[in-house]
């Protein structure tokens, strides 16, 4: 009797010892700050005065009705995310199919396309800033192409394309290796059987390869979405939000309000909106893709 009681207590103690450290760390990193965020989002505070002033839902009302910065950055982020997700996945699938053909240089090619992914995004932004500002000058002079003469960081539309292009350049290797792994799990005899049946390359790709890649597509689209909705680092170093404030993303707008304009309450209200947006988009995406995968 005493012995079983002792054992029960020991099990409970063990459970606590094993799980408490992680709970404390996660609470410090996420839950405490998250509760504080909810609290601050209903206040007006510049970080200097001792006590934040409670203003209810005023911040949210102002964000949705009279904040063109927020509207612009939200629109920028949506456009960016959609284009990024589509382009990076299409390009990565195409490259993966080519690299899956067992070429002699496959391992070099895979490594080459993967290298930018191991670099910090801020640094990637600076490297490309140099290429756009200085490198394109020299390239323009030696090739004579007007393409290099354009102001890739100084014109609003082009700056958007530059940010998109640099992001894709940095991360395509990641999606590429996921798709290569996905293709390698497609059984060879399935592909061969289709060849014998006389299916053309296009037909084979769309009716066999693509459906079997569905799990990889789910993962990649999910990753592309969560990364693009939070885009920040690369913009900071590449354009700094310019020209004329046209390339602020939501994350950058939050950063600007909180740390540059010292609008602590207002900035955290925006931060909370970002959280809800990410949550909703993630849930929708997971349910849609799960359903489709089961059907396939």
């Amino acid at each position: 009797m005493l012995k079983t009681l002792g054992r029960r207590w020991r099990e409970k103690l063990d459970f606590g010892l094993f799980t408490l450290p992680v709970l404390i760390c996660i609470a410090v990193a996420f839950y405490i700050p998250f509760v504080m965020t909810i609290r601050y989002s209903m206040t007006k505070w510049n970080g200097i005065s001792k006590h934040p002033k409670f203003v209810g839902l005023d911040n949210f009302q102002q964000i949705f009705t009279g904040d063109s910065n927020f509207a612009n950055s939200a629109w920028f982020t949506i456009k960016y995310a959609l284009l990024y997700i589509v382009i990076v996945n299409v390009l990565a699938i195409l490259l993966a199919v080519l690299l899956d053909m067992k070429l002699k240089s496959t391992s070099w090619l895979r490594a080459a396309f993967f290298i930018p992914y191991i670099l910090s995004l801020v640094i990637v932004g600076f490297i490309w800033k140099f290429i756009f500002m200085q490198g394109f000058n020299s390239l323009g002079e030696s090739t004579g192409w007007s393409f290099f003469g354009l102001s890739w960081l100084g014109t609003p539309g082009l700056a958007f394309i530059s940010i998109l292009g640099v992001s894709i350049w940095q991360s395509i290797g990641f999606y590429l290796v996921i798709y290569i792994a996905g293709l390698q799990s497609v059984p060879d005899d399935l592909k061969e059987a289709a060849t014998v049946d006389g299916a053309g390359a296009m037909r084979r790709f769309f009716s066999i390869t693509l459906p079997l890649l569905a799990p990889s597509i789910t993962i990649s689209v999910f990753m592309a979405l969560t990364n693009s909705i939070k885009v920040f680092d690369v913009i900071l170093s590449l354009t700094g939000g310019g020209p004329g404030g046209t390339t602020y993303s939501i994350a950058y707008d939050i950063y600007r309000d909180t740390f540059q304009n010292n609008l602590y309450g207002y900035g955290t209200a925006k931060a909370l909106i970002l959280f809800v947006a990410v949550l909703v988009v993630t849930i929708i995406q997971l349910t849609v893709f799960k359903r489709r995968e089961v059907e396939a």
Binding site: I26, P33, V122, F130, G135, A181
Partner: protein, 278 residues
């Protein structure tokens, strides 16, 4: 005839792809050659090779940003973060996967739920929490903070893996009378080697290159900066001295590239495994 055609096609494809990959890496090549030029050479022609190797760029930047110090900082932050993440996540995930109770389910949910919280949503209050706990402004404090940020994904990956290990293994060891920590580290942890590798790879890449959290936490003093932060500040100060800026870039990314060249196979594998499981 057809196979000949195929063969020629493959060679053309191969050549095209190799050229494409070289163009793809051209910006990095330009960065390296310009880090070896003098100011006037950078200004006159970016794409030409350096006429004289200006190695003095490197000694100048090395001293100016105190490179060994930065490297040590990155090392401390990444190493400390990694040790903690692997330790606390593996023991928790093991216990949670082995305990079938409501409490266990709730705790597991609380552990992985934060994966949905974007860092920018809580960055201000994370900074304040860190200040309250005296963690801000120090490399050790930043390393500690990563424990919580890295744990959700690590718990998730470990949890999935532990479920696949038969419970008979624990039971046979329990009968021998080993304490539960001993049991875990001598019997279970070695079985987790492959997932631990995955977690180490994705977390090293993340912490080593992370920018926003270090910017908020340790950017105050040159003694606590990370490589990326120093490169960021350096470029801010030397906006027109591109040769120094490019030198700083090369010095910031070189450790990652060297590690990648040697551990390429493992890194790619780890990244894929992390994405597929995560």
């Amino acid at each position: 005839m057809k196979t000949n055609n195929n063969k020629a096609g493959r060679i053309i494809l191969e050549v095209v792809l190799v050229i494409l990959s070289l163009l793809f890496l051209y910006p990095l090549f330009l960065t390296i050659i310009n880090s070896l030029k003098s100011f006037s050479e950078v200004m006159t022609d970016v794409i030409a090779l350096p006429k004289h190797l200006a190695l003095s760029n490197y000694s100048y930047v090395w001293k100016f940003i105190n490179y060994p110090r930065l490297f040590l900082n990155n090392f401390i932050i990444t190493g400390l973060g990694l040790l903690g993440i692997v330790f606390i996540s593996s023991i928790a995930a093991y216990k949670l996967a082995r305990t079938k109770s409501r409490l266990s389910g709730i705790i597991y949910f609380l552990c992985i739920m934060p994966m949905l919280i974007p860092f920018q949503s809580i960055m201000l209050t994370v900074l304040q929490t860190a200040k309250n706990l005296n963690l801000s402004g120090s490399t050790w404090g930043l390393g500690l903070l990563y424990w919580g940020f890295g744990a959700p994904l690590a718990v998730f990956i470990y949890h999935g893996f532990v479920k696949g290990i038969p419970t008979e293994i624990d039971e046979s060891a329990t009968i021998d009378g080993a304490s539960s920590f001993r049991l875990f580290f001598s019997v279970i942890f070695p079985l987790l080697k492959s997932v631990t590798t995955t977690i180490v790879i994705i977390d090293v890449m993340w912490i080593w290159n992370d920018f926003l959290l270090p910017l908020l936490m340790v950017n105050g003093s040159p003694d606590t900066k990370t490589l990326t932060l120093a490169a960021y500040t350096f470029v801010g100060q030397y906006t027109s001295d591109w040769q120094y800026a490019m030198t700083a870039m090369v010095m910031a990314v070189l450790p990652s590239i060297i590690v990648f060249i040697f551990l390429q196979k493992y890194i790619v594998k780890g990244v894929v495994a992390g994405a597929v499981k995560g």
